[in-house]
Amino acid sequence: MGQHTFILNGSTVTVNVDDDVRLLWVLRDVLGITGPKYGCGINVCKACTSHINGKAFNPCSVQVKDIGPTDQVTTIEGLPATVGAELHPMQEAWLENDVAQCGYCQPGQIMAAVAKVNQVHAAGRELTDADLDEIRNICRCGTYSRIRTAIRAGAEAM
């Protein structure tokens, strides 16, 4: 049993858990942060997508020992605070376009979308269909077209 400290949604947290437990289960089963969802556990479905130091990652595939005390982990719960608002512009775009159906994949979709737009903006480019095609998050309800529309709208506002 190891002690692990990191920054979660702006606050420092310390957990006592074995080194090799994947961060998804530290978040969900130990800390009760349930926004990141389980859909596969092998970094394929991307339902658990969150941010580490501002970049998209999948906590199902990271051992808690690999997260350091200065690492900033942001889940969907902490996304609005990154822009100091009630909701992040991407969440607003999601609402505007009524994207969610069952909603299970949506926290991961939004976190992936924000990171993808940041990545494209950092490269000084505009979002393209090819960028959107790179997003691997599964939506089994099939609401891909609204996801694409919402990401474009969210990118405008970011």
């Binding site: 074995d18 609402l95 069952c102």
Partner: protein
């Protein structure tokens, strides 16, 4: 050409200004009720021509099944001015909590966000009337919910008249406030207790005509949208039930195997976090502090297994059985000069798994049990859990939790019953989760099927159209089966469940064309698989076969596919949606070689859909690289038009059509299971290729057709059949070859098969190398 335009499609449901009886319930605050079977008239005998589903379909069966039960649904006006309603159906993403809130808001003159719709737990007294399936929710609940809401509004008006010293006729209600002639007003919050009835009494009410609607028919966002985008929406695995620790099952290497013995139980019990290891009939269950530790324990278990139900079997051996079981075609006498066209189509096994895996929380004690799960047939689940743990039904509480998708999957209670058994055996509460790999390998699948069609043509007319659909047995021993007879369906008749499946088939399949002598027959065989009613049940396969054949008939008679369909379609609503997609989608526009348009129609759920797609089958597109992904042909554009009768929420309907198109693309092009050596090979979303962003249409348009109908149709499944058909037809036109096996990429295994022992893959540790 006989046109059925003379028969109003919804004449039987003429609800205009009908008066209904409901109840004011005795209590401290205003509560009203209505019978859930209201507004669903009886039907005449089933005619032989036209086809059965045109006049009496699966939805009518569901509605009729509920008729004899006195089943009240209740709306309560709360002292904060909101209304509460427990819907005896399950929300899985199809939007029924939103549309139900809209129906109540309409009749109550209350803002939609002041109507709280939750999901009712299992209510055994509802008997057959607590099943979510067949796209029947709004069809069957629309009138009773309106009646209850209208009674509540009348009671509020009555109380307000006393409060305001006026008479009801002079009052107006708007957004939860009732205003009198002097401008004085009183809110529903103030009236909630004053309008309460001391005793339960029957009252009559007249419903408003649709011309007065201000909420129904307007686009509304989902009531749970904010919860969904903030991560606050709660699913079964998010519930915090005291003591219900993470639990998973080590499953057998072949389909439906069972554990014989555990070789290293003590060793696994000593692993970090592990609290319990117990064998159940489906495998070996482990309970631990985290799911991560469950995964490790499942992988560490050494189990001796009994054989499964399909040892040694493969796609080819099952297909051979299907072919042997096909009912022969028997063309009636036709003129000598008629041409015969024949084709056989094969549809491989598909997984109906949602993104939320099978899961349930169970707390089974000596004298009672409580279960939480996403269940579309909770009454059946309650009965089966009770039987599984040896408790009386009334000692089992089944809570219905919002589901992370269903697609037919949650008609079954596999996880709920399994969780109850495990909880009983371990003597502690459990939160059971299936691993993703468990879903395609041991979970419910859409059965493999063949569809053989023979048609005859003479002088531009189709004289006969025969279809023989042959399928691995579809398991209806749950919800839809509950409708006819839950117990009867389970009897070992030695004939499979042929009779029941054929009933469902007959009630859903409708060839919308005037093709002379039409016969559509189903035969089912082979009950060893875990099958289910995947979204739209038989229709995607049957319609795909039909529509490909229709294109062939059009070509044979030298006609354009749209013109040919318009010439032979029977129903004006189907023609209208086809004309609409042809116009919006610019049918017939020129396309480069390797690209083509395809079009298809479908008629079901008291409605009609048409889909036009454009597909790109050029090598540069087909072979575009996506790591661990299937690319293949891309549907670049999809246009879908839907006539669903009276539409409650066009925005929600459009969402369902979008999902239907995504499903159709996957069914036609990429998604299937491969059976080899007694097990399915797929174990991941990168093995089972549901539509991904790189397969999604770049241009999607949905047209909701205007309708003057007073009757809502079904939405949740209505978009699938025409979509898969249109994609298949487009592929045939783009490549010049009519595909006969679906999905078209089935013969190409596009992934490395994961091991079967241990049954689930290790959790990766390199996640930080894949950030962006």
């Amino acid at each position: 050409m006989t046109d059925l335009e003379s028969r109003p499609p919804f004449a039987r449901a003429n609800l205009r200004r009908r008066t209904f009886v409901g109840y004011l319930l005795g209590g401290a605050t205003l509560a009203v009720a209505a019978d859930l079977s209201l507004g669903n008239p009886a039907y005449a005998a089933v005619p032989s021509l036209p086809q059965i589903p045109e006049l009496y379909d699966l939805g009518d069966l569901q509605t009729d099944a509920a008729r004899p039960t006195a089943n009240l649904i209740r709306i309560v006006i709360n002292t904060d001015g909101t209304a509460s309603f427990e819907l005896p159906r399950m929300e899985v993403g199809q939007g029924i909590t939103t549309s139900t809130a809209m129906i109540i808001a309409e009749e109550l003159d209350l803002p939609v966000d002041k109507v709280h719709v939750s999901l009712a737990p299992a209510r055994p007294e509802l008997m057959f009337n607590q099943l979510t399936g067949g796209s029947n929710t709004t069809v069957s609940t629309y009138t009773p919910i309106r009646v209850a809401a209208a009674i509540a509004r009348n009671a509020l008006l009555g109380a307000a008249a006393i409060e305001l010293g006026s008479i009801v006729a002079l009052l107006t209600s708007k957004e939860g406030v009732i205003t009198g002639p002097t401008g004085a007003s009183v809110s529903y919050a103030d009236l909630a207790t004053k309008a309460a009835s001391p005793t339960t009494q029957a009252v009559s009410v007249t419903l408003a005509p649709r011309s007065s609607f201000t909420v129904i028919g307007t686009p509304q966002n989902r009531v749970d949208a904010l919860a969904a985008v903030t991560g606050r929406k709660t699913f079964t695995l998010d519930l915090e039930i005291p003591g219900a620790l993470p639990t998973m099952v080590c499953r057998p290497p072949t389909l439906n195997g069972s554990p014989r013995s555990i070789s290293n139980r003590a060793q696994v019990l000593a692993m970090p976090g592990v609290t319990h290891v117990e064998a159940v009939d489906t495998g070996v269950a482990v309970r631990a502090a985290t799911f991560g530790q469950c995964i490790d324990a499942v992988r560490a278990l050494v189990v001796v297994w009994n054989p499964g139900s399909v040892e040694g079997e493969s796609d080819a051996t099952v297909l051979a059985k299907l072919r042997a079981a096909e009912i022969p075609l028997a063309v009636p006498p036709i003129p000598l000069l008629a041409q015969t066209v024949e084709a056989e189509f094969t549809f491989m096994f598909r997984s109906s798994a949602a993104l939320e895996p099978n899961c349930a929380v169970a707390d089974v004690r000596a004298d009672h049990a409580t279960v939480w799960a996403g269940l579309k047939a909770p009454i059946v689940a309650q009965t089966e859990i009770a039987a599984a743990v040896g408790l009386p039904v009334e000692k089992v509480t089944v809570n219905v939790v919002t589901g992370g998708g269903s697609f037919g999957h949650k008609l079954f209670n596999d996880a709920a019953v399994e969780a109850a058994k495990i909880s009983q055996k371990m003597g502690v509460p459990v939160k059971l989760m299936w691993h993703r790999a468990d879903e395609p390998r041991q979970g419910r699948v859409h059965p493999m099927a063949t569809s053989r069609i023979r048609a005859t043509v003479l002088l531009g007319q189709v004289l006969t159209f025969e279809q023989r659909h042959t399928s691995v047995s579809t398991d209806f021993g749950h919800g839809l089966g509950e409708m006819i007879s839950h117990n009867l369906d389970k009897l070992p008749t030695g004939l499979g469940n042929l009779g029941f499946a054929e009933t469902i088939f007959t009630l859903t399949q409708e060839l919308p064309y005037d093709f002379g002598v039409v016969t559509q027959l189903l035969n089912e065989c082979d009950m060893r698989f875990n099958t289910g009613s995947m979204r739209n049940i038989y229709s995607p396969d049957v319609a795909c076969a039909n529509e490909l054949m229709v294109d062939r008939l059009a070509a044979l008679t030298g006609q354009d596919p749209v013109a040919f369909r318009l010439a032979f379609l029977k129903n004006s609503r189907v023609k209208d949606v086809l004309r609409k997609v042809a116009a919006v989608g610019q049918w017939g526009r020129s396309m480069p070689a390797g690209m083509a348009q395809g079009v298809a129609v479908h008629s079901e759920y008291k409605g009609a859909t048409a889909v036009l797609v454009e597909i790109d089958c050029r090598p540069a597109t087909v072979n575009r690289p996506i790591v661990n992904g299937v690319t293949g042909p891309r549907v670049t554009k999809a246009v879908i038009a839907v006539d669903a009768g009276l539409v409650i929420n066009p925005r929600g309907l459009e969402a369902q059509m979008m999902g239907g198109v995504s499903d159709g693309i996957a069914l036609a092009l990429t998604s299937s299971l491969h059976l080899r050596d007694g097990h399915f090979l797929e174990a991941s979303w990168d093995n089972y290729f549901y539509t991904r962003e790189w397969n999604a249409p770049l241009d999607f348009q949905c047209i909701v057709m205007p309708s003057t109908s007073e009757q809502p149709g079904g939405a949740g499944e209505a978009g699938v059949a025409a979509s898969v058909s249109a994609v298949a037809c487009a592929y045939a036109r783009a490549t010049g070859t009519m595909p006969t096996r679906f999905p078209i990429n089935h013969d190409q295994l596009s992934f490395t098969v994961k091991p079967f022992v241990p049954p689930i893959p290790e959790s990766p540790t390199d996640g930080l190398s894949h950030t962006f």
